[in-house]
Symmetry: C2
Subunit: 340 residues, 2 copies
DNA sequence: GATTCGAATGTAAGCGCTTACACTAACCTC
DNA sequence: GAGGTTAGTGTAAGCGCTTACATTCGAATC
């Protein structure tokens, strides 16, 4: 067992079972087309030799791999973890395998990863967000690789998306904040360049201000990568301004948790001295004290639906419709109601 | 650009450039063997046609993919995130690509993933932990796929490992706990079946008790999957016993954070009413209040060294030595010194 | 100027698999 | 029982690439 010198091929199995390679292939891929007796013989040869199909060859000949690729911006924090896990579970249940790569929020790397995944035979791709170089969409179309953009809802994009409306969601949260009497709003946003979700959230925030007769240009905004530490630093910067914000709204929960720590380091208490809000409702938001007011996103549902939709596209059952999921404002202790 | 009907092949490029396929192939793989003038001609044909090599074919013919596969038990929490990120960064810097799959802590799924990754042409594999069916190691050996086991240090295993000694590390932490005067120790462990790290940590805990003349069998142990919620539930169970533990030691930080919340829900304050310890020192451990006493693990260093070692193995430079990293006890507020 | 040599390129044989098509029996149908 | 089906299997043509080996040709050598 432990000194196999060489890997068995279809040919070896065929020879061992006394049939043609075609029959072996059929046994593996469409067993119902082979009579039971033959199949048994073949299968025991497969077993005996410890045969496993060579994937490269298979891909080349059949052009199907039952592999789905996903490229997420980061693995470092949990933003995508839950959704991706659900995505993977659903894929697994349907006989597909998931391959993940991460792009570190860099479009160039993402492109590399897309090509790499396609080259490795991915039948379909899950990408996060929607904005990217049109050339990459052409590339995928030329190869008939279905792509689904998740974490965004963007019905008119021409690309299927599954997710929620980042802009509306943030607007709703901001409306709540304003209804609570906050007028001095500070913002810690993710980097908006090359990140349509971050940009949409920021835009939603501005929408809310405008709708309430506030001046969006007067609002201090710090853009910084999604890392806890950055949130802490940014909060301290915001609190050093002449007119201190009464609330700091963050582009996601990671930044919000950082902001919370930043406040604590400054000796400020939340929400008494300053309120903080997040976005995503990842586990972190409920672990810290005070728990963070945020926008709840149905991560698992999104992952599951993405898997179903993408497989439909791959198997040519679906045309790749856009699916909208509903997010909800999740009120918790980190946001103070100033009207009380 | 957007209506390419078909994907260009090597042949197309060769025809366009007026050279043979061999020359095109050489341009791509060992440019120094082609004279400059020809190379330029070929390259502009490549550019013009938007050619990208077909991976399946390449794998089949060359048997090299510059792809490394990694299988981690879970993506849901951050235990492996940081290390994996560093692993990926190092791979990327050296021209390799990372493909990740997750096994949900199930050996059967892990085996599937291993086969899938190998089939997809992975040049090498990073696995977490060391214990698994010997047949799978045979399978990999037969295909000459180097494997590196990470997150463990296990010099006599015959397999290269890069990581730290889970048993010793936990023993050191437990020693500290005992030195602080704790005698009633409750334990929330990960599931030890099929998880050598969890088992080793628990064993290390027992070692410390024995070394200090305490009875390890008297120690209440709850095994539960690594999820925050489970930590909370387990803590409540432990605190309902007749003799309440003065400290609850957890198999990792995720459980510890859960335990912390469980304590809070019970109206207990940490560390006054009960101390809590974790393991791994993920970001979470410093975010919660009180911050958690834990075992610090050099995640990024581990990821980076794993990448270097694995590439060495793939490129036949290294024999796959075992690399030990040092963990350190990280004292924080969640552990109370009873001797003061 | 004939010979040698080596660098640049071409030729063609696989790599391991799938599948269209061809073939062979066995079984119906009238 | 001739002709027509049909189910089961075999034959062989690729899939797109790499690379050992063959060929060519200009420069160097004597």
């Amino acid at each position: 067992m432990s000194d196999l010198r060489t890997v068995p091929t279809l040919d070896d199995v065929a020879r061992a079972a006394g049939v043609s390679t075609a029959t072996v292939s059929r046994c593996l891929n469409s067993p119902e087309r082979v009579v039971e007796q033959t199949r048994k013989r073949v299968m025991s040869a497969v077993e005996a030799l410890g045969y496993t199909p060579n994937f490269g060859a298979r891909v080349m000949a059949a052009k199907r791999t039952f592999t789905i690729g996903a490229i997420i911006p980061t693995m470092e924090n949990a933003i995508f973890a839950r959704g991706l896990q659900a995505f993977q579970e659903e894929l697994h249940a349907r006989g597909y395998m998931l391959l993940v790569a991460s792009s570190a929020y860099q479009p160039k790397i993402e492109e590399d990863q897309i090509r790499a995944l396609v080259a490795r035979g991915a039948d379909g791709l899950l990408l996060i967000g929607h904005d990217r170089d049109p050339a990459i969409y052409d590339y995928l179309r030329a190869r008939s690789i279905p792509v689904l953009s998740a974490w965004v809802y963007f019905p008119d994009s021409g690309q299927p998306t599954v997710g929620f409306d980042n802009r509306q969601s943030m607007r709703a949260l901001a409306q709540q904040v304003i209804d609570y009497g906050h007028r001095q709003i500070g913002v810690i946003s993710g980097i908006t360049k090359g990140n349509d979700r971050a940009a949409a959230r920021l835009a939603g925030l501005r929408d809310a201000l405008v709708a309430n007769g506030l001046d969006p240009d007067a609002m201090p905004v710090i853009e910084t990568p999604y890392e806890i530490e950055n949130g802490a630093v940014a909060l301290q910067t915001l609190m050093q301004a002449d007119t201190r914000p009464t609330v700091v709204m963050c582009g996601n929960d990671v930044l919000a948790v950082g902001a919370l720590r930043g406040a604590r380091d400054l000796g400020l208490s939340v929400p008494e001295d300053v309120s903080i809000t997040g976005f995503d409702d990842i586990e972190l938001a409920r672990i810290v004290a005070p728990q963070i007011t945020t926008v709840h996103v149905p991560h698992r549902e999104m992952g599951r639906k993405a898997a179903i939709a993408l497989i439909d596209m791959v198997e040519k059952r679906g045309t790749g419709d856009t699916i909208e999921l509903k997010s909800t404002v999740q009120l918790r202790d980190s946001l103070r109601d100033l009207t009380c």
